[in-house]
């Protein structure tokens, strides 16, 4: 053993030396990504998503780099939750990506922390055009007069349904139908087909937001919650009754099939979600899925608005001009829409909207749905959520689930939510 032992040790040492040397090389060779040399500028672009979005984005970046040979774009992506962990860490450390994907719930939050670039100056300088956006989307990323996010694709809340289950029950949801029609339909489906009418909307913040908007309120005001404990008690009582009577799916079953959706697993005949998420049901489930309008209170107002993913710049970027040019290209260039399709929602500018004609039925359904609500004139505008809205959304979902499982009473749950929201919103 003696000789082999010492040989082992020698080769171990050699390997250690080599590895330390490589360490040094790596450190020397790859400095920070945003340095500029020889007239080329490198910008970092981060977003959340998975493999298929990555492939599309890589293609659009190739197009961009071809048109702007002096700008190099380095991408970085993770799933949603990991993206925000990383973003938070990097932004807190003063090193956020130059340009990144963003959503409405984070605008005020990161504006308060001076993380976001006000793009108004770039619009004035002519590096970014705010013309040609659909249905009020140009104002979507504005907070207190600052332009903090540019919409890349729009979406709207919708009711995804199992069309066969609805047809068997003899229900045809159409624009202007009411919550009473909707609840009657759920009961009919439940009684006749031994599945729940809906997976259960009580924890979806965006659905409750619509219900409140139909009553002239909203989930959030600029700084606070826009509803009272009594409002929420009523909504959750109604939800809990729905669970007990079986018109909503058994929350235990829904828990067991996660991360699959209740609708695609056949537990229910419908659920509320963003219209561009409807793609996943066809991929996951066996049913014949379609989009139905949001029920209303007065037979007219749905409270809907076009939401959107956005691109934002970092306030610390050394290359605001290049960031603006990049965003401009991504939202206006028709060729980009041809590549991205409806991956991030329906393209937000008319130039891009017209450039992509969906060929599959799901995307056609989304297109038809958004055209329908736009022409029906139900679309409203939305105030950007207060800082802490993301925390409220998570708490709303979690506590609603506790209530529907029966581990917390409605009253206790409402109190808990308001107390957590108070901490999160700093009110």
């Amino acid at each position: 053993m003696g000789t082999t032992g010492s040989v082992d040790r020698r080769s171990l040492l050699k390997a250690a030396g080599a590895s330390l040397a490589t360490l040094g090389l790596t450190a020397a060779g790859c400095g920070s990504g945003s340095g500029s040399g020889g007239g080329t500028v490198t910008i970092r672009y981060a977003w959340w998503g998975a493999d298929d979005r990555a492939k599309k984005i890589n293609q659009t970046i190739a197009l961009f780099e071809k048109k702007y040979p002096k700008i190099k774009v380095k991408t970085d992506f993770q799933p949603y939750a990991d993206f925000w962990t990383k973003f938070q860490t990097q932004a807190s450390g003063g090193n956020p990506p130059d340009v990144f994907q963003n959503a409405i719930g984070f605008l005020r939050k990161y504006n308060d922390k001076h993380v976001l670039l006000d793009l108004n100056a770039q619009v004035k300088a002519g590096n970014l055009s705010m013309d040609g956006f659909r249905a009020g989307l140009d104002a979507f990323g504005e907070v207190d007069g600052k332009l903090l996010g540019i919409p890349v694709g729009s979406n709207s809340m919708s009711l995804v349904i199992d069309k066969d289950a609805y047809r068997r029950a003899g229900i045809t949801p159409k624009l202007g139908w009411t919550w009473d029609d909707y609840y009657a339909g759920l009961k009919k489906i439940h009684d006749g087909q031994h599945i729940a009418g809906d997976t259960g909307p009580m924890g979806i913040m965006y659905v409750y937001d619509l219900v409140l908007r139909q009553a002239g309120k909203a989930f959030f005001t600029e700084k606070d919650l826009g509803f009272t404990e009594a409002d929420l008690t009523e909504w959750w009582n109604k939800g809990f009754e729905g669970v007990k009577s079986g018109i909503y799916a058994d929350p235990k079953k829904v828990e067991q099939i996660k991360p699959k959706a209740g609708l695609s697993d056949g537990l229910s005949a419908g659920e509320f979600t963003w219209d561009n998420f409807s793609v996943r049901y066809t991929a996951e489930g066996k049913g014949n899925y379609g989009l139905a309008p949001i029920p209303s209170t007065d037979g007219k107002t749905t409270g809907q608005y076009l939401g959107s993913l956005m691109l934002s710049g970092s306030a610390r970027t050394k290359h605001p001009k290049e960031v603006a040019q990049f965003i401009n290209f991504m939202v206006h260039e028709p060729a980009v829409a041809k590549i991205m399709g409806y991956d991030r929602g329906v393209p937000s500018t008319t130039a891009q909207f017209d450039a992509f004609k969906p060929s599959d039925t799901v995307a056609q359904g989304i297109s038809a749905y958004e055209t329908q609500i736009a022409t029906a004139g139900v679309l409203q505008t939305i105030t950007p959520h207060p800082a802490g809205a993301d925390t409220c959304e998570a708490a709303f979902l979690r506590i609603a689930n506790d209530v529907s499982l029966g581990t917390s009473s409605v009253d206790k749950g409402v109190k808990q939510f308001f107390s957590e929201a108070k901490t999160a919103l700093g009110t």
Binding site: A15, A16, G33, S92, R344
Partner: protein, 285 residues
């Protein structure tokens, strides 16, 4: 007792041992079998499925991996992970064994206090250290390199391994280093020629754990690496599923099995050294 009956009794015992071991193993490996079965199912049938194996197995989940993820060949992630894992193993073996020797065999002033500090570093959840450490490495301009992920390994920051090696060193027969000391050997000689060879089981154990920890590490690579082609397997595994996308569970499960192979290979290659510990290392003389 004849040789034959002794032999029979021995083989009967052996049979019972194997049956017992396999029974325990069957329970323990059931979930692993489920993963293997899952990798042969289409994505839409994986979640919530109660069957161990599909009626008609498919190989698409594996062939799909050859296309790469996000335009990056799978092999890139494996090479990156291997580099980090091997680099970590070397660092931990050197730095932690040195520190362990100091705590176990050298009587220097302040040893007790430093030992308490070392144990103290084990006790704080690392999440609260993430951001200060990030800021530190950023000031050193080392973001988007592998240095933040490796440096600590060469500086014995993982108290777990220092403590593990130390426990083994303290259990070595004391006569050995006393004798060496009387022969005039210094600490370096004793460390290198006596203690390290005798601690091989502890070193191999540390090597295996370090390799696996590095291989599975997620948060470190997540915050320090900014380009997908520098990513590790653990990050690559997360590229199959996102809330905005149609989840590719099949690809994810297949890749998690493929990702297991290098670790398993590392374990298989080194576990045999676990066998020749003290008992066979020529100590008897």
């Amino acid at each position: 007792m004849s040789v034959l009956t002794a032999y029979r009794r021995k083989s009967a015992g052996s049979l019972a041992w194997h049956i017992g071991s396999l029974a325990v193993l069957a329970v323990v490996l059931y979930p692993v079998l489920w993963v293997i079965g899952g990798s042969l199912k289409p994505s839409s049938e994986i979640v919530g499925s109660l069957d161990l194996f599909p009626a008609s197995p498919i190989t698409k989940n594996y062939t799909r991996l050859t296309e790469g993820i996000a335009d990056i060949p799978i092999s890139t992630f494996f090479v990156n992970s291997l580099f980090l894992a091997v680099g970590s193993v070397i660092g931990v073996l050197i730095s932690c064994s040195l520190a362990a020797y100091a705590f176990a065999k050298i009587r220097f002033a302040g040893r007790n206090a430093l030992f308490a500090v070392m144990i103290g570093t084990l006790l704080l959840p690392y999440h609260v250290l993430l951001i200060p450490q990030y800021v530190l490495f950023q000031k050193l301009d080392l973001i988007n390199t592998y240095t933040p992920l490796l440096l600590g390994k060469y500086l014995a920051t993982d108290a777990f391994f220092v403590f593990l090696m130390m426990q083994f060193m303290r259990n070595l027969p004391r006569e050995l280093d006393e004798a060496a000391r009387l022969d005039g050997c210094g600490h370096l000689r004793i460390y290198w020629s006596i203690v390290l060879p005798l601690c091989r089981p502890a070193l191999i154990t540390s090597a295996i754990f370090t390799f696996i920890n590095s291989w599975n590490d997620f948060l470190g690579p997540l915050i320090y690496l900014n380009e997908p082609d520098k990513y590790t397997v653990a990050l690559g595994l997360k590229m199959f599923v996102d809330q905005d996308a149609v989840a590719d569970y099949g690809g994810m499960i297949a890749m998690s099995l493929v990702a297991l192979l290098p670790v398993l290979a590392f374990f298989m290659a080194f576990q045999r050294y676990l066998v020749d510990g003290m008992a066979t290392s020529g100590l008897k003389g």
